[in-house]
Symmetry: C2
Subunit: 347 residues, 2 copies
Amino acid sequence: MKAGIFIKPGEVRVEDRPMPEIQKPTDAIIKIVRASVCGSDLWWFRGISKRESGTPTGHEGIGIVESVGSEVTNVKPGDFVIAPFTHGCGHCAACKAGFDGNCLNRETSSINGYQAQYLRFVNANWALVKIPGQPSDYTPEMLNSFVTLSDVMATGYHAAATAEVKPGDTVAVMGDGAVGLCGVISAKLRGAKRIIAMSRHEDRQKLAREFGATDVVPERGDEAVKHVMELTGAGVDAVLECVGTEQSVDTATKIVRPGAIIGRVGIPQKPDMNTNQLFYNNTGLRGGIASVTTYDREELLQAVLDGKINPGKVFTKQFTLDQLQDAYDAMDQRQAIKSLLIVDDQA
Amino acid sequence: MKAGIFIKPGEVRVEDRPMPEIQKPTDAIIKIVRASVCGSDLWWFRGISKRESGTPTGHEGIGIVESVGSEVTNVKPGDFVIAPFTHGCGHCAACKAGFDGNCLNRETSSINGYQAQYLRFVNANWALVKIPGQPSDYTPEMLNSFVTLSDVMATGYHAAATAEVKPGDTVAVMGDGAVGLCGVISAKLRGAKRIIAMSRHEDRQKLAREFGATDVVPERGDEAVKHVMELTGAGVDAVLECVGTEQSVDTATKIVRPGAIIGRVGIPQKPDMNTNQLFYNNTGLRGGIASVTTYDREELLQAVLDGKINPGKVFTKQFTLDQLQDAYDAMDQRQAIKSLLIVDDQA
């Protein structure tokens, strides 16, 4: 089968690899229909984080169940599924508390290889999310939205859920990448009345407004703080931090009214933080790895099926699996907000 | 009138001072019935934090409304009231969001002088909490519990509320001072099933168990982490951090299951913190100054009136106002968990 492989920073290649096989009774083999490139893939693509050469790439996708292990009873061969990157077991303390992104039975071997024709998916019984019908029952746009439910839409939603966005809130979203844009969708879905997109790129501002942003703040740092305080008076009720840089996190702490919560999903670039400013303003700091299966089942899949949300619009370019290098380059060079991979063009 | 005055570290004195007067239409003058010494008073008493010599002391008490400004309509002279240390205005963004400890119209001049016969109380209309009847209608024990509603009980409750303790939870309470013990009461009040008191003093362990602690962990640091993990498996659902030292905060971050929240009310002694460990475990960090008026009105006063909670038991020694130095010494030397001041022994 064809599989995306990391060669070295800046280079990926599609190689022929053996078909994956069921190794444990809790595994499933998924025939990938659509996959995508994640903003977090750029960390190793750009050489910022280390990655071993020769490892299979990708952690976002949807597909058809090809075969299942003996303990997998919730899905069967032929089912159409979202393949979350999180692989929750469904029965540990983390999964039961709704934090399947921190599943205590997670297997690190399972997090890659979605940019391929077939994928071995562990903890398949609980983690996979069944989509009604077959790919052919849906428009290409709807398929795109399903792909975002394997990571980016659920990650944006995690920022809103941990920031505890509630109806009527004024919310700021730091970051206008695909996750930030899905954060805007999530804030609206949870009933926010005013959504301030912190965005400086015109195409992304436009999409943010389409997704529900009521205001755009293009500034950064102190100027951004000033602008948000002018708009809100006492600060926002919640911040969705979808960047992770020191400046973004710092700005987040300065635009909140007392008691507001910052929901973080941007991978933090600086561990140390002065948390006194949080304490003396009663600012909450929450967030981390998303609860993909939990959110998909609770709310997100139905919202896509009902046409209430259209997160698939974050894919502004699409490629075949053979064009994997181009898909990465387009995101690396900011020519695409997010790159879609059409792995099986018959589905 | 008699008023407690800070002289120098280790020394307070009761001096004769002019009667306070209404200065603003939102003021009230309160005739203090009972006051108390707070653990946070020990910071300046011990010379750890700076304080100007000659300033009036105390921020906890109950009393009778003596007179009110023209804009104060919710209470009238003769009413029996709790005098929260927080002085929320009730109409700013912080108060409306339930964070009156961060009231945006707070006047810093208002935070002291409760250890006296009379007190000028600002933002009286909303902040004061009316107690039904008169002091003579209640037992001394009940009066003691009312005193805790001006700070310490509400502060313990803030730890539980910001840690989002819910029915069935397993909760750890860091600290066995009066606030920590009130944290135990609060965890139980919110329905926690298992409450682990992190306490090494026998008298406090006993009171913690009486208040609802199901387990006691006397160790500190790594040994404490090990013990809690042995008791819980994956860690606790919530931590009430009522100490504020680096070690206590560090231990708090290591005993939580993924997604749990640490509710902090211990004044943080070290600003910088590695927040990556929070991110990668989806651990939340919340807390700060308590919402005294909000909690008293929502739940705590009624819980005291109904006899559901008895936080007044944290007063293990009592003094007259003239014995103010002894009241401080008893807490400083750990002879009392908390010192009560009987300011008006006729009430």
